[in-house]
């Protein structure tokens, strides 16, 4: 006993020493209390002119001889992407959004050399119209609980030393030193962590099944296929903190007894792949990936596979087929991936965010994790909030936060003059929820009961200008196109459902069609081989459940209340309001508008293609849109 304790502590010392040796402090970014400037280098800020801002900043610091005194860090995404390029000046944390290169000299003068703020360039909270100086006071950030994304906006994602300086790979060292794989699984199971990729399967349980299943080899796979329209949480983790994913996978591999891993990233995420490759090279160089990690005897290495444009490859069995070099088609669920996964061997497959939670759980303990969230859903969840809200971007909240907290609290509510209509959760597999469910807590069970689902975390908010039939049509079209074609209910069922929806949107649907749609939805759910078909009808079913009146308006009265479905609307000119300014006349792409200057104009319904251009260019609000039987009849007659 004493002897084993002694070897135990020798092992601990060896691993602790190896971790220390892996860290090169001189290469890490200074802490937030030092004078430094954080420049967001996420994909969005890069696309909105970050490079020009960085150059101007470097030049200005050079000119003032401050290059050595003030550190400039290119960080991962700060989350409030619509305000890019974002720059934050420490130690105070002064927040400057939407910066332009020409403003740099002024902010360096005022906030770096001096200790003031440039009022004119501060962030204005769209909800209260107030100017906010410090990053920590921005309501978008204040409402969040950041656990997975805690350090994403403050570290340089291309620097392993920044990650190590924040205690990175400490969780890995802890589990390697303790050398008790089963204890790791116990801890993860006790934490209550559930898969963040959609289905919410308990992660610890999955790991245990995988470990227990016999095989020549155990594989560890990360699902970074993130194909849901409206979702980009995983991209953010991959780009902003790739080491947190690697560390999570390493811990999983150690717990399960695996030595080979794969990360499957979709083709559309080139920056994520580059950051991952860089992180893996660094980790290998420092002895944190590869053979004999930290001198512990444990070996694990990872390969990256890139997708090739098939949404279905996000499904676990399709994904493993794709890695094996086959068509990415799912198989029946009676063969479990944890028993017969990649090349028939026991395989653990988790989502990016799931793995990224693991180091936190190991470091802070299962109890700390359990303390966040609801009875059945623990920890936090990252959502990508998009659509018609004021603040869009990445949001991390505790499980159990309400939709209202996220959309109105953090998201700042709807844009000026618009009203909330619905929020689509979980993309094409999820559903749309109406205003009366805004106070629902966000957790796996509540969302499923409401007919939506957590999915991967896409949250698309729509207002009164969106037609719910059109909205459902979008998602169904997506799944119908992405159906791999292996099973009939999904391949043909989703196509037939789409045809019915298209009829309804064209004012040609019947009450019988609505019944057929519901019947078919059930059949597709029941009969499909995988969850692509199994959840494809959800957007339609929730539309029928919560917005039935709107659907029936299309069927019975040929009315599209949101005035979106083109066959059901007609553009007219209000002769009272029209001043004959001739702007629409020139803008109409098909010359359907006629009229003399200063005289009311008219639209020739035979020529009109309903492109909406005239309404958009009219300064006098003189192009009302009509909908309903009369509008349609008149249009058809002509």
């Amino acid at each position: 006993m004493a002897a084993s304790k002694k070897t135990g502590s020798a092992r601990q010392a060896r691993i602790a020493k190896a971790l220390k040796a892996a860290f090169r402090r001189e290469l890490a970014t200074r802490g937030d209390d030092a004078v430094k400037i954080r420049v967001c280098a996420g994909t969005t800020c890069n696309a909105s002119g970050r490079a020009a801002v960085s150059c101007a900043l470097a030049a200005e610091l050079e000119r003032r001889g401050l290059t050595d005194k003030v550190q400039v860090v290119l960080t991962g995404c700060h989350g409030l992407c619509q305000e890019g390029p974002i720059v934050v000046i420490h130690p105070r944390g002064v927040f400057y959004p939407r910066l332009k290169a020409k403003d740099i000299a002024e902010i360096v003068e005022t906030s770096v050399v001096g200790d003031e703020v440039v009022e004119r360039l501060l962030y204005t909270d769209p909800a209260s119209d107030e100017k906010i100086a410090l990053e920590k006071d921005v309501p978008f950030y204040k409402g969040q609980t950041r656990l997975v994304r805690a350090i994403n906006g403050s570290i340089d994602p291309t620097s392993i030393d920044d990650y190590l300086a924040r205690g990175g790979y400490g969780a890995l060292a802890t589990v390697l030193a303790a050398d008790e794989p089963e204890a790791v699984i116990d801890e993860v199971e006790r934490s209550g962590l559930r898969g963040r990729g959609g289905a919410g399967f308990p992660t610890g349980k999955k790991w245990r099944f995988c470990r227990q299943n016999p095989g020549e080899k155990h594989y560890v796979i990360c699902n970074g296929d993130e194909g849901d329209p409206g979702a980009f949480m995983d991209r953010a983790v991959l780009e902003d903190n790739p080491h947190s994913l690697l560390e999570g996978m390493l811990i999983a591999a150690f717990a399960i007894g695996g030595d080979e891993g794969y990360i499957y990233v979709r083709h559309e995420y080139p920056l994520a792949v580059a950051r991952l490759r860089n992180a893996m090279d660094q980790a290998r160089e420092r002895g944190l990936l590869g053979a004999d990690i930290l001198g512990s005897g444990f070996s694990f290495d990872i390969r990256i596979n890139q997708g090739a444009g098939a949404f279905v490859c996000g499904e676990s069995t399709a994904l493993t087929a794709s890695i094996e070099g086959r068509r990415g088609m799912p198989r029946g669920k009676h063969i479990r991936t944890v028993a017969h996964g990649l090349w028939g061997q026991p395989t653990n497959l988790n989502n990016v965010e799931t793995y990224a939670n693991v180091p936190w759980i190991v470091t802070h303990g299962a109890d700390a994790f359990r303390a966040i969230g609801t009875e059945t859903s623990k920890g936090t969840k990252i959502f990508s909030l998009t659509g018609k809200v004021r603040n869009t971007g990445l949001v991390e909240v505790p499980m159990g936060a309400t939709l209202r907290d996220v959309i109105f609290g953090i998201g700042g509510g709807l844009r000026e003059g618009r009203t909330f209509k619905a929020v689509q959760l979980g993309g094409p597999s999820g559903g749309c929820l109406p205003a009366d469910l805004l106070d629902e807590p966000i957790d796996f069970e509540s969302l499923t009961a409401a007919g939506a689902m957590m999915g991967s975390g896409g949250m698309v908010v729509v207002d009164d200008t969106t037609c719910m039939v059109d909205f459902a049509k979008f998602f169904l079209k997506f799944t119908a196109e992405e159906s791999c074609g292996k099973c009939v209910p999904c391949r043909i069922g989703t196509t037939r459902m789409l045809e019915i929806l298209e009829r309804i949107a064209a004012g040609e649907g019947t009450v019988k069609d609505v019944e057929r749609l519901e019947q078919l939805a059930d059949d597709v759910i029941e009969g499909s081989l995988c969850q692509l078909g199994g959840s494809a009808p959800n957007p339609v079913l929730t539309t029928l459940r919560y917005f039935r009146d709107e659907v029936m308006e299309h069927v019975v009265h040929m009315r599209c209340p949101a005035k979106v479905c083109r066959p059901l609307i007609r553009y007219t000119i209000d002769t009272e309001a029209c001043t004959g300014c001739h702007v629409c006349f020139g803008a109409c792409p098909v010359q359907a508008i006629s009229g003399e200057r200063k005289e009311p104009h008219v639209i020739d319904q035979k020529l009109c293609i309903k492109c909406d251009t005239c309404r958009q260019v009219c300064k006098y609000d003189a192009v009302p849109v009509e909908t309903g039987i009369l509008a349609v009849a008149e249009g058809r007659q002509q």
């Binding site: 994909t43 992407c81 090739a308 098939a310 070099g325 979008f474």
Partner: protein, 165 residues
């Protein structure tokens, strides 16, 4: 008699097999690499790949035809892929699509006659809060206006080929 370009192709594919390994799992990465460099996968290429990986050519075709990014007509020197997703719809994607088609004189899924630019739809590229978004080859562009779209087309026209190809 083997045509010289076939010989070149064989050398190239042999190099990829060397780098990625001769296993079945190298199939998709090999096809991706060839598609990226040559902008198309023709049947001859697929046959050589099949032979070198020791799998049936039909298997190679079956895989290539499954994945959106592997199959299809030859692509142009540059590929513009506009995000076709709904958040980009809200942001005015249609006007950008029209500007692209107009400027290029082609529709989506087509390549200009000079082989310079291919226009395609992309599945969500995850820039949902920054729409309309598009990819020019591997570069992400956000909040694209119809004017930006025209400028992007002009830049593609003026440029010889993909920097990364």
């Amino acid at each position: 008699m083997v045509a010289p370009q076939t010989e070149e192709l064989r050398v190239e594919i042999a190099g990829l097999v060397d780098k990625l390994g001769p296993g079945r799992s190298s199939l998709i990465p090999i096809l991706q690499d060839i598609k990226h460099r040559h902008r198309e996968l023709d049947s001859e290429t697929m046959q050589v790949v099949a032979e070198m990986l020791d799998i049936h050519p039909v298997e190679v075709y079956s895989v290539a035809s499954f994945y959106a990014f592997l199959h299809g007509a030859p692509q142009g020197a540059h590929v513009i892929r506009l995000c076709g997703t709904l958040s980009c719809d809200f942001a005015g994607k249609d006007a950008v699509a029209d500007a692209l088609c107009d400027e290029l004189g082609i529709g989506f899924g087509e390549t200009t006659a000079d082989g310079q630019v291919t226009l395609e739809w992309a599945s969500c590229i995850g820039m949902c809060d920054q729409g309309p978004a598009l990819l020019v080859d591997d570069e992400v562009r956000t909040r694209v206006t119809p004017d930006d779209a025209r400028a992007i087309v002009a830049a593609c026209r003026a440029d010889e080929g993909r920097a990364d190809a």
